[in-house]
């Protein structure tokens, strides 16, 4: 059983390896674990385009596409980190609270002074690393299940937020808010470039570093990894640090977007469960060991397209929830079938 598949995005090499098994028409790209995700994404885009056009709206216009890209940034960045922890068989339910807290701390530390921007970002990143380290230590050293550990961390952070703030926190500088939250290069939002950079970094880490290899190995089977001499605890802690860092980056981005920090931005945004949903929509197995960031990006785009269509068709939030629930379950059921056929 191959649990380690770090070569997810190198179609060339894999195509060769699978030549005998894969039917002739199937090129490597189609055999990639992310392929069904992008198949689903294309399907949803086509469907959305038809439905919205019939409804009299515009779908594939530059403005609308850019709007969809912009919508995917916040959920996208945190989902990248969530991918890493899910790949090793863990998960992180504390990201939403951490996003709120980091938006607040960003605003507080900047305090309206342009000179404080860099220190504020560094402080918030350090805070993220600290929370990730705490999560990792609780899971590995205290042996608390990740679900409970991060749920408990979410409560702890939530209490700190409620104790420290009774409303939005101003202080994000105008320039920072404009630069990260609203600037565009041509039509591409600056924040989307941030998303892309984080994605490339994490993709590289997972694909080409020893740490990335270990993440897949531990996710495949912690016991086997341990027996084969991997320091599993370090890997788990490292992955949680990466995840928390992506959460604080999301928080910093949201602070720039809102030009303030707020106690509710994370939880009301539902970034905890939605990021897990995006990762799973992206074809990463919740048991770990299988999947990757390419798929997650597809999963995030699926949710962003749905969001855009819901807006254009003026669905109320209740219908949205129903459709989202069905899409998530159906997509994962299809992936599961595909996996079975392969096996």
């Amino acid at each position: 059983m191959t649990v380690v598949d770090p070569s997810e995005s190198s179609p060339g090499t894999r195509a060769a390896a699978r030549k005998e098994r894969v039917a002739g028409w199937r090129v490597g790209v189609l055999a990639s674990p992310a392929a069904p995700v992008y198949g689903a994404l294309i399907g949803i885009i086509v469907l959305a385009w038809i439905v919205v056009t019939i409804d009299g709206g515009e779908f594939l216009t530059t403005g609308n596409i850019v709007n969809m890209l912009q919508r995917s940034v916040a959920l996208g960045i945190v989902s990248l980190g969530q991918t890493v922890v899910i790949l090793l068989g863990s998960l992180d339910l504390s990201v939403a609270a951490l996003i709120s807290l980091s938006s607040l701390v960003t605003a507080q530390q900047m305090d309206g002074q342009p000179g404080n921007v860099i220190p504020a970002i560094l402080i918030v990143l350090a805070m993220g690393a600290g929370v990730g380290l705490a999560n990792g230590l609780i899971i590995t050293k205290l042996r608390v299940n990740a679900f409970i550990a991060t749920l408990g961390m979410a409560l702890i952070l939530g209490g700190i937020i409620e104790n420290g703030w009774s409303g939005p926190q101003g202080g994000v500088t105008d320039a920072f808010s404009q630069d990260l939250g609203y600037t565009r290069f041509g039509v591409i939002p600056m924040s989307f470039i941030l998303f892309a950079v984080v994605a490339v970094v994490i993709w590289f880490i997972l694909r080409s570093t020893r740490f990335g290899y270990r993440v897949y190995a531990v996710g495949g089977s912690e016991d086997v990894s341990k027996l084969s001499g991997l320091r599993t605890h370090r890997t788990i802690i490292g992955a949680h640090i990466v995840c928390s860092l992506t959460a604080v980056i999301t928080g910093i981005f949201l602070a720039s977007r809102l030009k303030a920090g707020t106690p509710t931005v994370g939880l009301d945004g539902g970034y905890d469960l939605e990021s897990i949903a995006a990762v799973v929509l992206g074809g990463t197995a919740l048991t770990g060991g299988r999947g990757g960031v390419i798929g997650t990006i597809g999963g995030v785009f699926i949710l962003a397209v749905l969001d855009n269509v819901f807006n254009q068709l003026e669905f109320n939030s209740f219908v949205r929830d129903v459709v989202r629930g069905i899409v998530i379950i159906a997509a994962v059921a299809i992936y599961a079938r595909r996996q079975e056929k392969k096996a």
């Binding site: 059983m1 068989g89 863990s90 998960l91 609780i138 899971i139 590995t140 205290l142 042996r143 608390v144 299940n145 990740a146 679900f147 409970i148 550990a149 749920l151 408990g152 961390m153 979410a154 409560l155 702890i156 952070l157 939530g158 209490g159 700190i160 409620e162 104790n163 531990v218 089977s221 912690e222 016991d223 469960l273 897990i276 949903a277 799973v280 197995a285 919740l286 048991t287 770990g288 109320n316 939030s317 209740f318 219908v319 949205r320 929830d321 129903v322 459709v323 989202r324 629930g325 069905i326 998530i328 379950i329 994962v332 059921a333 599961a336 079938r337 996996q339 079975e340």
Partner: protein, 336 residues
């Protein structure tokens, strides 16, 4: 290989022989009762009236819905799954009941029957999708949470409509009156003990053994003739029905509300874990899970009495939950 065991896979779940496991289960069961007792005593020191029959029964009555939910969550957890949909299922129960009953006492019993059926159907759907369609239960029930929440408010146009009848409400609100010394024995407390007893019997029957075997090692269970999928689906159905019961009690206790089920799924799972149930399946006792729910409610009361500012309450709760689970794990490791 199992597609389940979500986050639990690996972390601290090694193979052990049966006898050891029994001992460790007993040990972890012991912890929760000691903790519960300590909290009760401490609360009594802070507020002596707590130990009087009336207030104590009021505490049990308030805890009953969560205890019942914890029993439901236990069945699902021990079989190696998650049920995140119970909170929204509770909301569905209250909203549907209000809309259909419209204050008409004669409709109460048919509607209660319908609610139990809805609970069972939702549980079956969760189980079917998670087993036959091989969608991880975390995702199935997360999707179900969205669907239920959306569908019920779509149906009622956003806010709850109608009203509950007095006899519907009496189940969660009233009890047998005129009993000497304790004055009133709430129906919900009776129901809680009945469900507790039934759950214990169920876990001692074949079903219980098969359930634990399935959660412990799916392949071994399958090979020894357990119909793994059927057992798991049944666990989800139980969870759904018990969520319906909890919804009926909560609707009775608090009345119509759109918020009623919010976050209960996490509370129920937390209660189970406090009671020593291992996420990923195969370990833990249903009595301890229910005691975990009582502990959680006692913890809320204690926090309240301790005068922790409302805002920091969450932080303290988080620390205690992590601490309790961490020490349970520590002791388990030590016992090896």
């Amino acid at each position: 290989m199992s597609t389940e065991n979500v986050a639990a896979s690996g972390f601290g779940a090694d193979e052990q022989d049966r006898g050891r496991r029994f001992l460790s289960a007993l040990a972890s069961t012991g912890t929760i009762f000691i903790l519960l007792l300590i909290l009760w005593v401490w609360i009594t020191i802070l507020n002596p009236t707590f130990a009087e029959p009336g207030p104590f029964l009021a505490y049990l009555k308030r805890s009953a819905p969560l205890v019942i939910l914890a029993a439901g969550a236990y069945f699902v957890l021990v079989s190696g799954n998650f049920d995140l949909s119970v909170g929204s299922l509770v909301t569905v129960m209250v909203v549907v009941a209000a809309r259909l009953i419209e204050g008409e006492p004669s409709r109460t019993w048919p509607v209660i029957l319908l609610l139990l059926v809805i609970g069972a159907v939702v549980g079956f759907a969760n189980g079917f999708i998670s087993t036959i369609l091989r969608v991880p239960s975390f995702i199935t029930t997360l999707g179900m949470l969205l669907i239920l929440n959306g569908a019920v408010f779509w149906w009622t146009g956003g806010a709850p409509r109608g009203a509950l009848s007095d006899n519907f409400r009496s189940i969660g609100r009233q009890g047998i009156e005129g009993i000497p010394w304790i004055e009133q024995l709430p129906w919900s407390v009776l129901l809680m003990f009945a469900i507790g007893a039934a759950s214990v019997l169920l876990m001692r029957a074949d079903f219980g053994r098969q359930l634990i075997a399935t959660g412990d090692n799916e392949r071994a269970a399958r090979l020894s003739g357990v119909r793994v999928d059927r057992v798991r689906i049944l666990a989800f159905v139980l969870s759904g029905v018990l969520a319906a019961v909890a919804g009926i009690l909560l609707g009775g206790f608090g009345g119509v509300s759109a918020q009623v089920g919010k976050g209960l799924e996490f509370d129920a799972i937390t209660a189970c874990v406090l009671g020593g149930v291992v996420l990923g399946g195969g370990r833990g006792s249903v009595v301890a899970a229910m005691a975990g729910a009582l502990t959680l409610e006692a913890l809320f009361t204690w926090l309240n009495l301790q005068g922790i500012s409302g805002a920091l309450e969450d932080t303290v709760q988080g620390v205690i939950i992590i601490g309790a689970v961490g020490f349970a794990a520590y002791r388990l490791r030590g016992a090896r």
